[in-house]
């Protein structure tokens, strides 16, 4: 479908680029634990590619893939338990440019949707601290995702543009990768704040 779309808009202006940055996530409390226990993911880098098509004067669309290092973790007081992990994000965003395209600097806001695949990839072990509250699990979990954000594009000549982007990826908490222990409750929304910088080639 992606390539069909590409063919349909061939006469229009396209943009392909790379993004890199990091992510900061909120944690969520494990309900039922006698002491405060937080479950979530460690901040980590993110990188990906973006393909855009500028169909209208102010509106454009973008397909984006991001790889994010997202290590599941549990924390209670000074005790922490970590596990390596990652996330893969595939999304489509609508961009509203607040200035005409001929301007060198183009602010924009985005609204998008897609899927986020969480993967626990760490080495499992018979005992891990805080396992009485939640389990860090080597498994894969797919979650629907919405994303809102904004950014700035700077034209660097005829064919190149730099961009500074910020998005908030919103999913439900991945309860297979970080599973609640019996008697505990774990859930809520997971917010992943991702600032990135990028470079695009316009053609």
């Amino acid at each position: 479908m992606f390539f069909a779309l590409l063919g349909a808009v061939r006469a229009q202006q396209f943009e392909i680029g790379v993004l890199g940055g990091g992510g900061f996530l909120n944690g969520t409390s494990v309900q039922g634990a006698p002491a405060p226990v937080t479950a979530g993911f460690s901040p980590g880098p993110a990188a990906g590619i973006v393909f855009g098509h500028n169909r209208y004067a102010r509106w454009s669309g973008e397909m984006r893939y991001l790889f994010e290092q997202r290590d599941p973790r549990l924390a209670s007081g000074r005790t922490t338990a970590g596990f390596s992990g990652q996330a893969h994000v595939l999304q489509y965003d609508m961009l509203l440019h607040t200035r005409p395209r001929k301007n060198r600097v183009q602010p924009y806001v985005t609204l998008g949707a897609g899927v986020k695949i969480f993967r626990g990839t760490g080495a499992e072990t018979a005992y891990r601290p805080l396992m009485e509250y939640a389990y860090l699990t080597r498994t894969t979990e797919l979650k629907p995702m919405v994303a809102i954000g904004g950014g700035l594009k700077f034209r660097l000549g005829e064919r190149f543009a730099a961009r500074f982007d910020f998005q908030n990826q919103i999913t439900r908490f991945p309860r297979k990768v970080i599973a609640q222990a019996p008697g505990m409750t774990l859930g809520g929304w997971l917010l992943d704040f991702i600032p990135t910088v990028g470079l695009s080639w316009v053609f």
Partner: protein, 999 residues
């Protein structure tokens, strides 16, 4: 200590026809001798040219041995008396010194020859003083030591430079008395580290270290008794330590360890250090072998470099007699020897015939409910895997060995006839010797221990091989420490389970232990090291040792609240009390002990009061001293009539024991126990004493233990002990053989086979046992089958906690034995409330279980056995988690837990008991074989959440007793969940555990 053991074994070897009686039994030797037709003084290895240079002292030439064919093809004629050789780092120059200290009317002919091996040019220079040796440093200059100075020689120019002078060195005059070997004439040795940064040397009255980069000499004067022989220096590659004579020294000159009981012969023996392997090859003649030189064969020992623990002993074709050199690969050792040079292919040792037994001790323990012959199995192997002929013999009557000869590998049955020992109380000790006409090594003899415990004897013996020298209970931790002197180890045992927790390395020949008043550190004194080892008792980490003053060996250590004292053997006439400082790692010798001279008997032991208020010193000659920590001085010195041997102890209440005497706080005797028994151990327990005695010398009997009323000194309720306590404390006439555990459950006694556990209330009236419940030992449910591991619960089942690691499992443990339908069960744990055992295979239906103890016989307890009763073990632990079902994930070999869940396709292993008969059948108490595997006759059905798993193996776990293993694979789409039932079903019986499964 190794030497002591060899000496002990000498009569046994004689009995076995090891010497003389049968020439064939003398055994093969290791290494090839190359005779040079003269007497070698030194060697230098030139691997680049494939030759070994041999300084032929008496023939005035340097013989060149070709390494490839081990023949001497050329000789270089040089000035008379080539005494020392050194090869320059690049291999261009060979330097030889010539010892020519000719007495008038002759003329001195001391000289130095530099041979350019590339051009063949040769220059000889006269020396003003007799040379002691030569060695090259990494800078390409040679250090030449003479009796008057240290010179640096530039071999290219022939120029010498004075580094330092030295005085007081006397050289042997020539001509020497007939029979004097060259090494003894020169009386000095030098060697450089492998990296060429340091040169170490040894002469009659000095050791020295030359730092090549700084061109600095450090000379240490010394006196040594016996002389520091053999006169050889070997250096670790980085120069961190070196061996000189019978000592191993740090670079700074501290005596780290010494070979025990050395004869001090200068011209017999050799050594070479393999730094990478951490070993030393050494022939150090002992005082005994020296006096029996005609009979004792020369032996090369392979020892640990740090504490000289003997790993292996090899027969040599002749005595080594000077420098030993390892080649770069460290697989060939070249050493000066009596005929010239001996070449030892140490890297090929595995290809030579050798012998070893797989056990150090064979323990035959019968009891009042186990009669008939007892058989133990022993494996005789060649460590290199070869087929080596062997012969076995024993000095004990009533011992049958089958087969008594053969070829390795062999499994030997050793059987004792109980009738031979039925009238003997205590433990009878003998030896089983292993000999061969083919093996090049001296295999350890196997100790045979036979004990026939009577109903009136208390205690459960645990076998601990070796020479046990000291016993200490940790005052705050549930453990105790045993000093194993022959292996240089402290063995740490758990106080409740009595299982070994850790093994701590010591230096050579540890003698006594002490615990600091803060209970934090364990101190270990040695007879063959000038270090006192220090261990952190929480972490078992070795801390910086305390370095004793030169020539002082801390044989006994005690710590008070104010000072840590050591009773030191001193290399000299006067032995002393030294004071240790843990912080600085040093020790000093007080000039006096209060108003008394600081002079003690060689065999002196120290005992500190538990409150740290005082330390008693007891000497074998009857002298006693008391150090008062408050006054920080010795406040009492007194002499008892006669000699003192055996027990020594100190209480916090101001009472002390030395031998047979109870002393008050002024060390005045308040009670002297009479009798022929040997006073082996004493412990102050609460307001009483506990006294452990052994039989008089030569009397075959067990020991006795009795409480002592400290107000009167009277013994109360003497009780027989199953095994006699030790009558010697390693190298001392004093023995510390009784230790009350901190858990107050038991008293530990050092006895001849290891240690004996005695109930805290060892003298309480015995009560008949009662069985209340029998369950399988896996999940503690009632279902049991033939061959199941079971747990028996009840009261008065055994006086103490006793566990065994002996396989086959004994059918009597502690003071209890358990029977089913009259047959004794193999047992592996017994305690007052619980016994763990294995049911026999050939029973079924309703059976009667009966327990026999010294207190009587239990009522019968009836069990209903199922043909199969699978039960999954719940004995797994992970971090703080316990009672985890023993299901192991193949991928990471860890227990399945919620944080290590089962995944699709995983291979899992389930450990269980009660799976019934197997093919081949394995007798109860025996370890199951690895080949062929013992497969369960009735295959189990394994399901995960109701989904069947493919079972690849179900049978006994190899090497385990009564433990079955089921290997199964999880299907690609397993049911997932946090508590998915994993069920093993066999013959209608099932066991289920919950496991977490994720996809």
């Amino acid at each position: 200590m190794r030497c002591e053991r060899l000496i002990k074994l000498l009569p046994i070897w004689l009995a076995a026809g090891w010497m003389g009686i049968s020439g064939a039994a003398r055994g093969a030797t290791f290494g090839d001798v190359v005779a040079i037709g003269g007497q070698a003084a030194d060697i230098a290895l030139d691997e680049g040219r494939g030759v070994l240079y041999i300084a032929n002292f008496t023939a005035a030439r340097i013989d060149v041995l070709t390494l490839a064919d081990r023949t001497i093809r050329t000789s270089i004629h040089v000035a008379p008396g080539p005494s020392s050789l050194a090869l320059s780092p690049g291999g261009r120059f060979l330097v030889a010194t010539h010892f020519g200290n000719v007495a008038p009317p002759g003329s001195p002919a001391n000289a130095l020859t530099v041979i350019d091996l590339e051009s063949g040019a040769r220059q000889t220079f006269a020396l003003g003083n007799p040379p002691l040796g030569v060695a090259f440093g990494a800078d390409g200059t040679a250090l030449v030591a003479t009796t008057g100075e240290f010179l640096l020689l530039d071999p290219a120019s022939g120029r010498t430079e004075l580094v330092d002078t030295v005085a007081g060195i006397t050289a042997t005059s020539l001509p020497a008395a007939p029979g004097t070997p060259p090494v003894q004439i020169v009386s000095a040795a030098m060697a450089a580290s492998g990296d060429g940064r340091f040169v170490f040397g040894l002469a009659d009255t000095m050791r020295f270290m030359y730092e090549v980069s700084a061109r600095r000499i450090r000379v240490i004067g010394y006196t040594a008794t016996p002389p520091l022989g053999p006169r050889v220096v070997s250096v670790a590659r980085d120069g961190a330590y070196y061996a000189a004579g019978w000592g191993v020294f740090s670079r700074q000159g501290v005596l780290l360890a010494q070979f025990g009981n050395a004869s001090g012969a200068l011209a017999v023996g050799s050594h070479a250090i393999d730094s990478a392997a951490g070993i030393v090859y050494a022939q150090i003649p002992t005082a005994q072998s020296d006096t029996a030189a005609l009979r004792a064969p020369p032996v090369l020992s392979i020892v640990d470099a740090d504490n000289l623990t003997v790993r292996e002993s090899l027969r040599l074709p002749e005595n080594l007699a000077g420098r030993g050199l390892l080649n770069a690969q460290a697989d060939t050792l070249y050493a000066v020897s009596e005929s010239g040079v001996t070449i030892l292919p140490v890297g090929l040792l595995g290809q030579f015939h050798r012998l070893a037994a797989d056990r150090e001790d064979l323990v035959f323990h019968s009891s009042f409910c186990q009669r008939g012959g007892i058989t133990q199995t022993l494996k005789i192997v060649d460590p290199g895997g070869g087929r080596t002929a062997f012969a076995l013999g024993s000095d004990l009557a009533g011992v049958t060995i089958s087969p008594s000869s053969g070829r390795t590998p062999a499994t030997v049955q050793v059987r004792i006839d109980p009738a031979t020992f039925q009238d003997r109380r205590g433990t009878v000790t003998g030896w089983l010797t292993v000999s061969s006409s083919e093996s090049v090594n001296l295999p350890w003899a196997v100790r045979i221990l036979v004990n026939n415990q009577r109903p009136d004897e208390r205690g459960a013996a645990t076998d601990v091989p070796g020479t046990l020298a000291d016993l200490l209970a940790d005052p705050v931790r549930d453990r105790f420490y045993i000093l194993r002197q022959d292996r240089n180890q402290v063995l740490v045992f758990d106080g409740s389970g009595l299982f070994p927790m850790a093994t701590l390395r010591t230096s050579n020949t540890p003698t006594r232990m002490a615990i600091t008043p803060d209970h934090q550190n364990l101190l270990i004194g040695h007879d063959n090291s000038q270090l006192v080892y220090v261990y952190d008792l929480d972490t078992f980490q070795q801390l910086a040792p305390v370095v004793m003053p030169g020539g002082h060996y801390a044989r006994s250590v005690a710590a008070s609240g104010n000072a840590i004292l050591a009773a030191s053997r001193v290399a000299g006439a006067i032995h002393t009390i030294d004071r240790l400082d843990l912080l600085s790692g040093t020790a000093v010798t007080p000039p006096s002990l209060g108003v008394f001279q600081n002079s003690i008997h060689l065999d002196t032991v120290l005992a500190a009061t538990p409150n740290g208020g005082a330390i008693m010193a007891a000497s074998a000659d009857g002298n006693l001293m008391l150090y008062d920590a408050g006054a920080d001085t010795v406040t009492v010195s007194r002499k008892l009539p006669g000699v003192v041997t055996g027990a020594f102890a100190a209480s916090g209440a101001g009472l002390f024991v030395a031998g047979n005497t109870l002393l008050n706080s002024s060390l005045v005797p308040v009670e002297t126990w009479t009798g022929a028994e040997f006073p082996s151990g004493f412990a102050f327990v609460d307001s009483q004493g506990v006294r452990l005695t052994g039989p008089p010398p030569g009397v075959p009997s067990g020991g006795a233990i009795a409480r002592v009323d400290l107000s009167t000194g009277g013994a109360m309720r003497p009780t027989r002990v199953a095994e006699q306590p030790l009558a010697a404390g390693g190298r001392s006439v004093f023995t510390r053989t009784l230790a009350p555990l901190a858990n107050r459950n038991a008293l530990i006694a050092l006895t001849v086979s290891g240690f004996t556990t005695l109930a805290w209330s060892f003298d309480a009236a015995v009560v008949p046992p009662a069985i209340s419940r029998v369950v399988n030992a896996a999940d503690l449910t009632a279902a049991v089958a033939p061959g199941s591991l079971i747990s028996v619960f009840g009261t008065n089942l055994n006086p103490t906690n006793v566990a065994t690691q002996t396989i086959p499992l004994p059918t009597a443990i502690g003071e209890s034995c358990l029977t089913v339908n009259g047959s004794a069960l193999p047992m592996f744990f017994a305690s007052p409330g619980q016994i763990n055992a294995q049911l026999p295979l050939h029973i079924d239906g309703r059976v009667a279980m009966t327990l026999y103890t010294p207190g009587g016989v239990s009522d019968d307890y009836y069990l209903n056995l199922l043909p199969a009763a699978p039960a999954i073990f719940h004995s797994g632990t992970a971090g703080p988690l316990t009672a985890i079902p023993v299901v192991v994930k193949g991928g990471n070999q860890e227990l399945v837990t919620p944080s290590n869940p089962i995944h699709a396709g995983d291979e899992i292993s389930i450990y269980a008991t009660g799976l019934g008969a197997t093919s081949p059948e394995v007798e109860a108490g025996d370890a199951s074989p690895a080949s062929p595997l013992a497969v369960a006759l009735l295959g189990p059905d394994v399901r995960l959440g109701g989904v069947p798993l493919a079972v690849s193996y179900a049978g006994l776990a190899p090497g385990q007793v009564g433990v079955y293993q089921i290997n199964a694979r999880v299907p690609p789409k397993p049911p997932v969940g946090t508590e998915v039932p994993l069920t093993v079903t066999q013959g209608g019986a099932a066991a289920t555990v919950g496991v977490r499964v994720v996809d």
